[in-house]
Symmetry: C2
Subunit: 323 residues, 2 copies
Amino acid sequence: MDFKAALDKINTEIAALPLNGNPKELYEPISYFLGIGGKRMRPVLTLLGCYLFDQNIDKAVKPAIAIELFHNFSLIHDDIMDNAPLRRCMQTVHEKWNRNVAILAGDITLIQAYEMLTYVDEGIRAEIYAMFNRTAREVCEGQQFDMNFETQPEVSIDDYIAMISLKTAVLLGFSMYLGARIGGADTTEAQKIYDAALNMGISFQIKDDLLDVFGDATKVGKRVAGDIVANKKTYLLLQALEKADEVDKARLQQLMTDNCISEIDKVGAVMDMYNKLNIKQIAQSAIESYFTKALQSLESIAADEYRKLFLKNYFTELLHRES
Amino acid sequence: MDFKAALDKINTEIAALPLNGNPKELYEPISYFLGIGGKRMRPVLTLLGCYLFDQNIDKAVKPAIAIELFHNFSLIHDDIMDNAPLRRCMQTVHEKWNRNVAILAGDITLIQAYEMLTYVDEGIRAEIYAMFNRTAREVCEGQQFDMNFETQPEVSIDDYIAMISLKTAVLLGFSMYLGARIGGADTTEAQKIYDAALNMGISFQIKDDLLDVFGDATKVGKRVAGDIVANKKTYLLLQALEKADEVDKARLQQLMTDNCISEIDKVGAVMDMYNKLNIKQIAQSAIESYFTKALQSLESIAADEYRKLFLKNYFTELLHRES
């Protein structure tokens, strides 16, 4: 099963979610936000994780939707916290409606995630609930670390990797763990697939940082170099601060605190610095290094090589994505 | 077991919650907010509900905390949505920290509620999860209806009762249902106790509306008549709009849209109208009527009369509360 077949199953299930509840002011935003789409990477990973161990993936579909709902909950709330006007070229919930609607729509989406998770078979339910709760908590912790970084004077690359592990990668790890366990993998094999997805997630997030600056705006669906404008401590900026000599570091810090410079000049100046310091290549090499770790974990799993191939292809697709 | 013994058990368990996690920016607000205290009515009801059917209530304590955590989640988020500066005489989370901290602290508190709920015995776990999810969703729906009322031109008394049932009463119903089921009650008896707590909850909320206007500010812990200042469509206001003749109704509506009148004059004028229309007595009689229904449901339960007495006493305590 390739990822497109998995994606079709996910989209069909999402289209059938009962989101016509009352009051409509609460359910319309949820329906709208789910409709924006996106890659559905997490539920696809759940299905591909299940498929590694069982050809019948139907029982993984509803639990996979739980992950997608959880992800949507965190996006809706993160968008409020980040004051983000757009998500995938569409207005965010707090922008289209208002902040209160977005808070509550996020809350309900989280509750719906728990509702969908009840479809996990009884034999593994307690384990999956415990792990989902832990993962959910970690994602929130990651978001808080990310917000802390805004005002924290020194952030190391290690701090950054720890933060994106929590904020992004553990949920990818759990997505695949969940699928593998539903497919019948034992906890040891499932842990390997967790590790694979975790490293893929770190690689994915650094790629995200890279695309923000060096990606094609029409494909990325957000404002170009929004991270630079917002002084976001991305992998790129942290590497630049680490690699720069005293003069360049001071210049970078000055650019971040300069309230008079125009956005376009600021982006240009920071990008010049990134080019001078070879930041694109450094990031690219980190992306590949975490990606290699992910593939190694995947190799070590005791599953059919042919089936692994679908997963490898999907990982590769994510590595080469332009948005 | 009287409610004070139950409350002690709850407070001991809350004090032992692991809230020293990282990042501290996330866990400190949760710890702070739980520390503000409050009546702990919901977990106390869980313990008293359990005690009706089983003298050993220990296994109900952690699930009871799940309810208190859920309640705290909804308060933290509601306070943001309502722009409330104070809760029980203390600063709200978004006021003491900021809005983003409050969103995330609420999210984690909801996740922790789910974590504590995993302590329910396996035999009833699927049932309890399903009911908790339904209740959680209903509470959010109630909050959205409440917000809708702000701009909805006509709100009937029935609309209002439906809203407070969702926003407040179903959680009380579930609190007791949970306790009863943990104590060994069958679903029929547990449903009776759910109905009792539901009606008690409606009674409780109307009392809340009454205390806002006619309560003692030093005891209530919020600003006096804050509901009048905010034009909140409370039971009192809706009854006044229904009972008033055309002239008085127009006067009330004019007071609600008058941007020039001082707060103190507005409160005084609305209270005069309430007094003229006998609103305090009307509310008091509704409180007693729902309270009577609650007691009738309680009477119908097949449990020891002596043990029921503790619950009746607690209900009565809530009916006569001044804050």
